[in-house]
Structure formats: C-alpha cells, structure tokens
Symmetry: C2
Subunit: 329 residues, 2 copies
C-alpha cells in the first residue's frame, strides 16, 4: 500500500492540500475545527510528510555527513555519539562515511554528500595532527573534531592533551609521589608530546622534575612492559603512562618484579578505555579525554555555522581524571 501523501490527507479531511499543509504545520489562520479534522485524517492514514519533498523545497536537507578516517575506531566512536546526540535533538540525521583513510574514497564521499545537499560536514579522525582539509564547496560548513585542518580554515575541536598530562602529574603529586616517571607512545604523535609537556610543566611548577627520561615508544602493552623494565633502576614511586595499554604492560612488569601497585608505585593511564582500565588488576586510574563532549561541541559549532555564524579556530576540551585503585592514596 502506497504511503499516504498530503493529498490523501486533504481529500480525507475534505479540504485543499494548501489548507492541509497549513493545518499540519500550524501555519496561517484556520478554524480550530479544521485543524483537528486534518490532524485526525493524518492520524488515520498514518501520514508523515515526505522529508525529501520538504528538503527540495527548503533548499536544505536537514542532514549532515560524518566523515571518519578511523573506521569508527575507539577514538572516533565517542565523538560520533556525542555529535549524533547533539544533532539528533535538532532533527538532523547523520550520514556515516568511513573513508578507510583513503583520499579517493574520501573525495567520493564528499561529492556524494554534496549531491545529497547535506547542510554540513563533521570530519573526525584518530589523531589530532593537522590533516589536508577536505575539498568541498565553501557554501557547506565543515567542522573538524579530534583532528584539524592544516590550513586552519575551518573550526576544530580537540581534546586538551596538555591539560591531561597536567592532571595526571597533579594527582600523583597530590598523593605524595615525587619520583614520577613517564612512559608514552611514539614521539611523532602530537598528543604524546603535548601530554609529556603538560606533565613536565606541572612537575616543574611543583619544584621537581620527571624521574628519568621520558620514554617514547609505542602505544602497546609490550612497550609498557619493556619500558617499565628500563625505569626500575631509577626507583620511581609513580608512573604516568601515555595510554591504558602501556599502563597495563607496566603493571605486568611491576608485578613480575614484586613491586606493589599502588603502594610502591602508583600508576596513571590515559584514554580511560573501560575494558582496559577496569579489567586491570588493580583497576587503573586514567585520564579521560571526554570525547563525547568533543563531538557534542563540534556538532554545536556546526549547527552555529549552518545557522549563519562563522565559528573558527581551535577549541580544546579539558580532560578529566578518573581515579581508581592504581593510584589510591
């Protein structure tokens, strides 16, 4: 059975389609009785306006494209959820596009979205490093989340990794640790450098400094295990790790050599990745980047841009420390 159109509703209510339209949208001046009659007819027929027709007329589609280079991985998902949340309440639907980090694929998506007359674009990724900007008509607003355009042309929302490093250091100082080491991912990652910088700055302000060199390596448990071994001689009483995975590796090594967590060595991870942080023994204190918030804010900027404003520049979202057993006082 064909879906009911406004024509059917009008006929059923015994009015013209113009009147039906007004009644359904609460426009113009109509008798209350007429409105009701139309509403009832619509109800009976299970009428729902064809969004495509409305969009064609309005010149906008009430949709946005969400482009990720991250295959909807661990970092882009929360961003997406936050964005979808903020947009959904505004009746905007989201097209999901996974570029698989392939520029051609990305370009095809952009063209497709543009043909679908999306009202805007959110571009997200797994790294905060500047990336080549998406090539899209200037009439379509773009906001970057958890990544940023190399040309700074469009607004970007990023987690504040430096504040995350500060928070971790502050917390460990607060529970009385003074010999605090830092093991993190590859130095080529901007976020690793920023976290390390925040960490070192906080220690410095407290009149101390990192215990041993900052160890850059990989984001893996294996690296955590290895790096922890290198640090042991320095007798740290706390280790701030650049990811929860690294922290788990560190915990493994500490256990293997009989150092207790948190009594002998307190541990703080990064990402607050629930399965990793909660599964660890003891459970892991971790820095949460509040990625949902990143997504929500990005969506907010996009809505503003769609509304005609011109948001710009980089907006950072502070991190939040979640304290668990691995750094209990």
């Amino acid at each position: 059975m064909r879906r009911a159109t406004i024509r059917d509703v009008a006929a059923a209510a015994g009015v013209s389609i113009g009147t039906a339209s007004k009644a359904l949208n609460g426009q113009g001046k109509l008798r209350a009785e007429t409105r009701e009659r139309v509403a009832n007819a619509a109800q009976q027929l299970g009428f729902a306006p064809n969004t495509l027709a409305q969009a064609l007329l309005a010149g906008r589609s009430f949709t946005v494209g969400l482009i990720t280079t991250d295959s909807f991985g661990r970092f882009s998902i929360p961003v997406m959820l936050g964005a979808e949340d903020a947009l959904g309440t505004g009746q905007i639907s989201v097209f999901m596009c996974d570029t698989r980090d392939d520029p051609d694929r990305e370009q095809r998506y952009i063209e497709m979205l543009s043909a679908r007359r999306v009202d805007g674009l959110i571009v997200t990724g797994r790294r905060i490093e500047p990336r080549p900007p998406v090539r899209v008509a200037p009439s379509i607003p773009v906001v970057y989340a958890m990544t940023q355009p190399a040309d700074g042309g469009a607004p970007a929302v990023l987690p504040d990794d430096e504040s995350g490093g500060r928070a971790a250091a502050g917390h460990l100082l607060g529970i009385g640790r003074r010999r605090i080491a830092h093991i993190t991912g590859p130095e080529r990652f901007l976020c690793a450098r920023l976290r390390a910088r925040g960490f070192a700055a906080a220690l410095s302000e407290a009149g101390t400094e990192p215990c041993g060199d900052i160890l850059y390596g990989e984001w893996s448990e294996r690296w955590g295990r290895e790096a922890a071994g290198q640090l042991l001689a320095g007798r740290p009483d706390a280790i701030f790790c650049g990811s929860d995975q690294i922290a788990r590796g560190v915990a493994d090594t500490l256990r293997a050599v009989g150092r207790r967590v948190p009594e002998d060595v307190a541990l703080v991870g990064f990402d607050n990745w629930a399965p990793m942080a909660l599964g660890a023994l003891p459970s892991l204190t971790s820095v949460d980047m509040c990625l949902e918030e990143v997504g929500r804010i990005a969506a907010g900027h996009l809505l503003a841009a769609i509304g005609g404003e011109h948001p710009h520049g980089v907006h950072t979202v502070p991190c939040r420390l979640v304290v668990r057993e691995s750094s209990a006082a």
Copy 2:
C-alpha cells in the same frame, strides 16, 4: 554562489533541460556532439544532480537506516563497516542511528527514517538473542544483523557461535590436549550456551568430555582470574574461554601459580579483539566471529529485498580460528 542546476547546464549548452537531462544520463537519442556540449557545460559549472530531486521523482531515496542498540560498540561496529562497505559500492548512503537501547528513541528514529523514505533498514545489536521486531511499514524491508526478531518475520544474519566452540575444541584436540576446560560468560547469554554446546559436542565426538564443569560467570577479566583458580585442581592442559577478556584473566592466574602458557596449559579466547588478544602475554589464540562478513551479508540481503526479493530466515556466518602463541603446538 548558488549550486548549478540542470537549468544552468542546459542554458550554458544552449539546449532545453529535457535534452540536458538525457545527455547527462545517456538516455534517448541525441547527437554525439550535443551530448558532449552538455557534458562540457556540466563540467564547467561543476554540476552534480540534486539527489533529493531525483529521489523525490524516483520514489526512493537510495539511503538505508542503520539502527544499533549498542551505541556503536565493539560488536556492532564491524557489522556496520561491513554493511556500509557493501552498500556504498551500490551508491546507497547510510543513516546512523544509535538508540541507546531505548525503545522510545528507537521508535522516533524509525519514524524519522521512514519520513526520509529510506529504502530499507538494518537493525544491529550486541547480542544474538531475539528482540522485539522494529515496528515499521511493511513496505520497508528490514534485515537484522547480530540480532534477530522474536517473530522471525524478517531475515537475520548471525555469527555461528556453535561452530566457534567447535573450532576451538577441535584446535585444542589437534595440538594434543585432552583435559580441556571451558570458562565463559553468563549462562543467560544465548551465545555462551551455543559456544559451550559446540565445544562439548566436538569433545564428545572425539571420545572425551570437558575437564570439570563448564563455568558460567561474567565476561570480565576478573571472572577469568577467579574461575581459573577454581579449575586448577582439575589439572586442565587447555582452557577454552568465552571471551578474550576472560582468557586474559585466566592467563593472569596461571602465571601467578607458575603454570606456563602454552606449555602447561593452552589457551583459546573468543572475539579476536585485537587490543586484548595481541596485547596479552603470550598473544592469544582466539575465535573470530567475522562480524564484517555478517554486516556484508546482511547488506546483501537488504539489497535483495529492496530489489523485490523476499529473503527470510536466519543465516549464520561461520567463525574463524586465529592461532597465536597461547596455543602454539
């Protein structure tokens, strides 16, 4: 600057819009020279047809809705990726809808998608248990992936958990183990029961039986640690775990009591969740549910249904065993 419409193209090429349309779509009979002129004009103007207008006319939108109850979690993501992949090549775009497991929210999404005239719906979840079917006009085809409708009214694509249990058992038998135990998640999970059934069946066919009772508990590392302790007295030479997280907990306990993996006890996990399975020491053999394949197949069924076929029933996708160090021969 306004986007070019077919009108602009027609004007630039000095033809009527009807002709322009035909030229652009390779329809009707036109002089080659005309086609070319139109193509050039379109090129110059950067013309791309308005999908909304095409959709309105065609009566379909070339979009599908992807509904998940799983907040795009670990299980639904690969399914989504597979589905998006299969649909994208057919020029179908995907609306993402996260219901947060809230029926009201789900219903709102369904209505929205239906107003947007989606060509079909994929419903996915984190569990294979039958769920209340989505309430949507019968004219819109629906396919379930990684979940199934309680009324069996629409086709469903599920991983074959039972075959996964069989594969794990077969592999452990193959490397010469005979005292094989099983620790898994809550018994109320259908997938836990199915995996256990496949596991027990394979052992039985090999003339043996599970070492000790099958231990149902939680999907957590903590439960793995605890359950392993309970099993030790039975001296198993292999443990099949219902999830990679459980397997990691088991590995922790084995290490704590000095049992070597895989020499003394071989370990097989389930999910093949890369960060868990690869981060483990030793790396974890695991059963992979091939969720991308589940998504791809579901999308295939949906395309068939959109094309007028009537796929139905439950389709299962076999699991794949990925061998790593924890069960090296």
